[in-house]
């Protein structure tokens, strides 16, 4: 392999990216060295096992990936703005829509939600950390390394270009030669390990580490939605792991699971992919539902309407989510019986989702609604998500789907559910829990600008795509003719896309502005909240979260305490020494070995893959001989941190 095959060459956009990557790296190295931050970076972040810090790292990575995926989206919209544009060639366009989809789902939506779950769930259930803090760090680093491996593809070796679904035989060696598709396989495989571990970790955390008195039916709704999400993760992700492994065998070792030759079944890949892929949809939407439930309840000053109905509808969704996958490929031609069954299950899954919509509406009914930014996002969610949901029911009809399949109608539908559902929730949750993470709120006035810019931009961008789809515009085409008449609506859509881009920039500016000028919170209860995470005396909880583990007597415990005027004050005699886990650099090192392993497999360099594999196993062995049971925080230190006067 020559160097010009190793690095991607020939495109000015890529050279621009090369330069900006090198400059950013140099800038970061310079900053860390000049201000002597290396030790700080290592001890405070790279080796941390604190769920709040890991959560923040997840969110920071997710925002970076939102930027990357967003730039991909804007490049696509620029190419499609006018008919027969020459901005991107077909191969480049294919690569961009592939990385856009993969990054937004796997490396943006999931880590953003998992990040918020990391920060919030242990606090909501009154725990001091997760069940397996070390494993949590392994989760983060495998996710991060998987994401980085996937992201370097566009400057080293070339990006995958078979779509985020990577259907066979398009993704086979014959039709997608080179390392691109391997980046997809190994980036997702390594990140998938992290997701699966997170699933196990938080399932155990929620089941076993709740504060005394918090029975399952006293848990906050966000915790409930996280619990159900973790169950889906545990059952769904192994399917992806297996499917990716089989395709890796096909591509690297010449097996014939999904190939056209040798009795392979190409559509079996699509089948397995969506067996994971549909539950995945609910993995990224259920935590969003949980967040909206918390936010709507808080800012309506009312207990959530139909708490148990919410839970049962989520459990139903968890079961149903495994029974609808064929609606992604109705046109494969499985025959009338198969398509009818999956049509019906797909429509049925709309029912529990509809129940939830009414629960939110009735929560607001006769409530004292405060129009804060998180609440605005939640209201925007309800309106826009319903549009996405209704078009989803249209798509669920198998016969009609033959018309909509692979058109912009579908593209618009899933953007209406994923953006109005997941992305709105990420923004709402970020703003809502921002004071918990950083000790100050984001500026509300700028936040409202972001909301309106983004929501209007979103509708301007995607509403025309419904009509383009009905007019027959297929998805994943890099250009179209003048005669098709799709030009004007595409231009409108592009304008909307750039409005969303501007909204993102304003959001980032808001982070900077609020960091400089926002009033620092003095109490832990920034929004007059209802659940335990707001009950910590300081704005940002100390690393051990709760000096004294709260005792819970019912739903919305903290709120009812406040109403009764009986919020407990800590006294020195409540304080006992606290057992905490030690930091460890091993997860980070293990992640680095995973990178070597993945990179080796991507290029088919087995020596490198084996080297990385040995490193990974070595860190596992090292860990199993490590006898570190954590340490104790002394009573004096706790008293000092909590500023309790004797």
């Amino acid at each position: 392999m020559k160097w010009d095959e190793f690095f991607v060459t020939g495109d000015p956009l890529i050279y621009g990216a090369d330069v900006s990557i090198v400059l950013t790296m140099v800038g970061i190295l310079f900053y860390l060295t000049k201000y002597k931050k290396w030790k700080w970076l290592w001890t405070e972040w790279l080796t941390t096992v604190d769920h709040k810090k890991l959560g923040i790292m997840y969110i920071v990575s997710a925002v970076l990936m939102l930027f990357r995926g967003g730039v991909d989206a804007l490049l696509m919209r620029t190419q499609l703005a006018i008919p027969e544009a020459k901005f991107l060639d077909s191969q480049h366009y294919n690569e961009i829509f592939t990385t856009h989809g993969t990054i937004m789902i796997i490396f943006m939506a999931m880590p953003f939600l998992i990040g918020l779950i990391n920060v919030v769930v242990p606090l909501q259930i009154g725990a001091r950390d997760v069940a397996y803090p070390y494993l949590n760090a392994v989760s983060f680093w495998t996710f991060f390394i998987g994401a980085m491996l996937f992201n370097i593809s566009f400057v080293i070796g070339g990006s995958p270009s078979a779509g985020w679904t990577s259907y066979m035989p398009l993704a086979s060696n014959e039709l997608s030669p080179g390392p691109g598709q391997n980046y997809y396989l190994w980036g997702l495989q390594i990140a998938g390990i992290g997701t699966l571990l997170t699933g196990i970790n938080f399932l155990v955390t929620i089941l076993k580490m709740r504060a005394p008195g918090m029975t399952l039916f006293r848990m906050p709704m966000f915790t409930w939605s996280s619990l159900v999400t973790m169950v889906i993760i545990i059952f769904a992700f192994p399917i992806l792991t297996v499917a990716l492994a089989l395709m890796s065998f096909d591509r690297l070792f010449g097996s014939h699971f999904f190939t056209l030759q040798g009795e392979g079944m190409d559509m079996l890949w699509a089948n397995l992919f969506w067996l994971w892929g549909h539950p995945e949809v609910y993995i990224v939407i259920l935590p969003a539902f949980g967040m909206f439930s918390e936010i709507i309840s808080t800012f309506s000053k009312k207990t959530l309407f139909g708490y148990k109905a919410m839970i049962w509808s989520m459990l139903l969704i968890a079961g149903y989510s495994f029974m609808v996958w064929v609606h992604h490929f109705f046109t494969m031609g499985s025959g009338a019986a198969v398509n009818s069954v999956f049509s019906i299950t797909t429509m049925a899954i709309g029912i529990p989702t509809g129940v939830k919509i009414f629960n939110w509406l009735f929560t607001m009914y006769r409530g004292k609604i405060q129009f804060t930014t998180p609440m605005l996002w939640s209201l925007g969610f309800i309106v826009n998500f319903v549009i996405g949901g209704v078009t989803g029911v249209m798509l669920a009809m198998a016969a009609a789907d033959y018309q909509y399949h692979n058109t912009y109608f579908l593209v618009s539908h899933f953007h209406y559910v994923l953006i109005a559902g997941t992305v709105f929730a990420c923004f709402a949750g970020l703003i809502y829990w921002y004071p918990k993470m950083f000790g100050y709120k984001l500026n509300e006035r700028i936040g409202k600008w972001v909301f309106w810019l983004f929501t209007i931009g979103f509708n301007v961008c995607f509403m025309p795509q419904y009509f383009l789809g009905l007019d027959g515009m297929p998805r994943r085409v890099y250009t179209y003719s003048e005669e098709s008449g799709w030009g004007p609506l595409n231009m409108l859509s592009t304008v909307g896309g750039f409005m969303m881009g501007i909204a993102f920039l304003v959001l980032v500016y808001n982070m900077y502005y609020s960091f400089r000028f926002a009033k620092r919170e003095t109490t832990g209860d920034a929004w007059d909240g209802r659940t335990l995470e707001w009950s910590t005396p300081s704005a940002m909880p100390p690393f051990y979260n709760f000096a004294k583990i709260p005792e819970v007597t019912g739903l919305d415990h903290f709120w009812r305490q406040k109403q009764a005027g009986k919020v407990e004050k800590l006294t020195a005699k409540d304080i006992k020494k606290i057992h905490m886990p030690s930091n460890s650099g091993v997860p980070f090192i293990m992640g680095s070995f995973f990178f070597i392993l993945g990179f080796g497999f991507v290029f088919g360099w087995m020596w490198m893959a084996i080297l990385g594999g040995i490193g990974v196993i070595g860190t596992l062995i090292y860990r199993s001989f490590e006898y570190d049971d954590g340490y104790y925080v002394s009573e004096e230190e706790v008293i000092e941190t909590e500023k309790i006067s004797k």
């Binding site: 399917i239 079944m265 559509m267 019986a337």
Partner: protein, 137 residues
């Protein structure tokens, strides 16, 4: 019965274990008899002995492995354990049976590129394989 713990199981004669043990042996012998002594077709033999295998697995979980019991140390109740196992079995059946159904029903079976498959014509057609690939009939 769901409230029994491992501790008070240890008093008295272990009837549960005895019944489980006897039933397991009976099921095994019965499977052996079906396979060796009957004239059923291979398909039916497989279906029946697989049925016995699952029955026996359930029996062992129930009789020996305390699935329905509440644990005193953890907060996991028997209902959670059983629910978990049933959900796992449900998902496994959906994935396996669902995939087989989806991939073989209707037009999909003609979509396989290496005709002919087993169904009607038995053998794995070796000769006519290569030239047919990629053609949809």
């Amino acid at each position: 019965m769901a409230n029994k713990t491992a501790a008070n199981e240890h008093g008295g004669f272990p009837w549960k274990h005895l019944i489980g043990f006897v039933l397991s042996i009976v099921l095994t012998l019965f499977a052996l008899w079906i396979a060796l002594e009957t004239d059923l077709s291979l398909t039916w033999i497989l279906i029946i002995i697989f049925g016995f295998a699952f029955l026996q697995a359930a029996l062992q979980l129930l009789m020996f492995m305390h699935v329905t019991e509440n644990s005193t140390k953890t907060k996991l109740t028997g209902r959670v354990q059983v629910g978990n196992i049933l959900f796992a079995a449900f998902i496994a059946i959906i994935i396996v049976a669902g995939s087989v159904w989806v991939m073989t029903a209707g037009h999909a079976k003609h979509d396989k590129h290496d005709e002919p498959k087993t169904e009607n014509h038995g053998g794995h057609g070796g000769e006519e394989k290569s030239e047919e690939h990629g053609s949809h009939k």
